[in-house]
Amino acid sequence: MSLHTALVKIEEKKISSEEAKKFILSQKNGAEAIFIGRVRNKNKEKEVTAVTYDAHDQAVLKSFQIICQNAKNQFDKNAKIFLEHAKGYVPVGEISILIAVGSEHRDEAFKICRYVLEEVKHQSPIWKKEHYIDGKEEWLPGHSLRPKQKVN
């Protein structure tokens, strides 16, 4: 098995870097790249306490599979990829996304990691609501998936 993708309900389970490292470990691979995204405590001068992630579960899981498969096809068909994204209420400091890649060489490992992250941000239907220290909250703007209109 060379792919692991999941949307993790954070109230039920935490995203684990140890689990990711174990998954990508292989004697065939000389390189491992791991990206960990965490909820940070400030955004545009506002003090953030947590982020709630909403997701269209089925479409997200489908997009994760397509993105990882495309990454393998493009960079290294033998790469092992672990991708998990949080869903639900994630306090500051906790992991929101983890991408781990095991590949024969470092260049492919770095490229796959970066590719998967950028594609998730542009393809996977996931939304963020920030919670602030003053009790207010706000859905963040993002990338539109509306199909481009044909111009006559």
Binding site: G37, Y53, D54, A55, H56, Q58, A59, K62, H85, S96, I97, L117, V120, K121, H122, Q123, S124, P125, I126, W127, K128, K129, E138, W139, L140, P141, G142, H143, S144, L145, R146, P147, Q149
Partner: protein, 88 residues
């Protein structure tokens, strides 16, 4: 006719429930749904940040694929509204 709009992300401001029932003229398409949403937002949610949502949202059919503006809606169809995304 009536459709069921499954709400995600910022569009959840439109209702306390996950699904919003929307009345539409018969034979409506996604473009008509955008117009009706625009009206609902200007009348009931003018103070929210949803002003651009009817223009920027995509819509998924029950098969979880994006449908274009010409897509004909069926009575009681479940459609998901997909506001601009931004995970990570």
């Amino acid at each position: 006719m009536e459709i069921q709009l499954k709400l995600y992300g910022a569009s959840k401001i439109l209702s306390d429930k996950d699904i919003l029932n929307i009345e539409l003229p018969n034979n409506s398409n996604i473009e008509k749904l955008r117009n009706v949403l625009d009206k609902i937002i200007s009348e009931k949610h003018s103070k929210s940040d949803l002003k651009n949502l009817p223009k920027t949202a995509a819509f998924f059919s029950e098969k979880d694929v994006v449908v274009n503006d010409a897509y004909k809606l069926k009575n009681r169809e479940l459609i998901s509204i997909i506001p601009p995304i931004g995970g990570g």
